[in-house]
Amino acid sequence: MSASSLVAEAVWKEIESTHSVNDDQLWTLHFLFGKNFEGATRIVDQRGVSKISAHPSGRFIFQVTGESRRKDQYLCFPENFCACYSFFYDVVNRGEQLCCKHQLAARLAASLGSYVEVKVSDEELAVLLSKV
């Protein structure tokens, strides 16, 4: 893992343990992720992150509402996937970013517990995941 990833991981763990975020942590994440983190905080503030959990298995995925006027929704695994174009082009293809703003929003919302909880059946989640 790169130094940036390790630092980010340590900060996320701190936030997860307290379910709160302080100025130092916000500053560090902003330093690491720049404008993407600004976008992520706006999305979380607007309650734009949903956690879709399946019952009874407990498997889940996040759905993040984008900032564009169209309010596109992206399925997202915070650690390593988002269905948006930025993830494919900037993160995977060019390697210019560690992750996209939707992943950051999902990770921040998950760490703080500030997401909308959506319960679905295991079968419904399987259908949703197959459309990723």
Partner: protein, 251 residues
Amino acid sequence: MILEEMFFCSSSSSSQQLQPFENPSSNLLLLSGPPSSGKTSLLFQFAFNVALHSDSNNKVIFICNRHRLDSKPPFLSQGIDPSSHVFHRIQMKYVNDDEDIRKYFAAFHLYDTLPAAVLIDDFGDFFDNKICQQRYSNPRGRDMAMVKTLALCHNAITFANQKGSCKVLLSDTHTHQRDSPRFHFIYKKWIQTTFTIKEGDVSGSFILKDRSHSPTDHTATIKAAAKYSIALQYLVFHGLVEEDQLQYIQN
């Protein structure tokens, strides 16, 4: 985990449990090598070894294209009895394309018992360039399909390992005889352990290398290597490469 225990029929693998991976990111593995280097045989031997040592309820799933497997079936190590009960624990799943693979991992949480391992032979070949381009209306459609499939696979395995132990091993082909898999820039995002095959100094002999790399780094270190060959329709293990010799097979 020792190469010998994973991919070959050895005295050690018959007497002791396969070692668990130290690192959860090592539950998703890649075997990469040139065409006709025994990848399917190594994959099938891995399936046999996992089935041999896992709980009898936990199957090993071998995903492949039926036509391709029928035309080039795997060779087994000499010590294996073809009528062994272990083969009943290996379940063949025949798929036609990348969508079939995604559907399988999307429904992973629906299975009553999760498999001990999932193996996918010739993973990259399931992604047809033209079909993927049309599906996503994008010239990079195949890459997009691979990204989605690997992400789903990773998520399914992470989920499975919260409940038990499950590994996924994919095989793919080198391009242009270079020592790195096709689509390397995609694989390295999700896979930190790659086993690469290099042709040996004698025709029909090969060197299998266990290399680990950082997902954000292009450098890889070889942790171990083994020599093998395909002879008289058998997979033959010739022993591990001594540590002091590893530096000579870095490339």
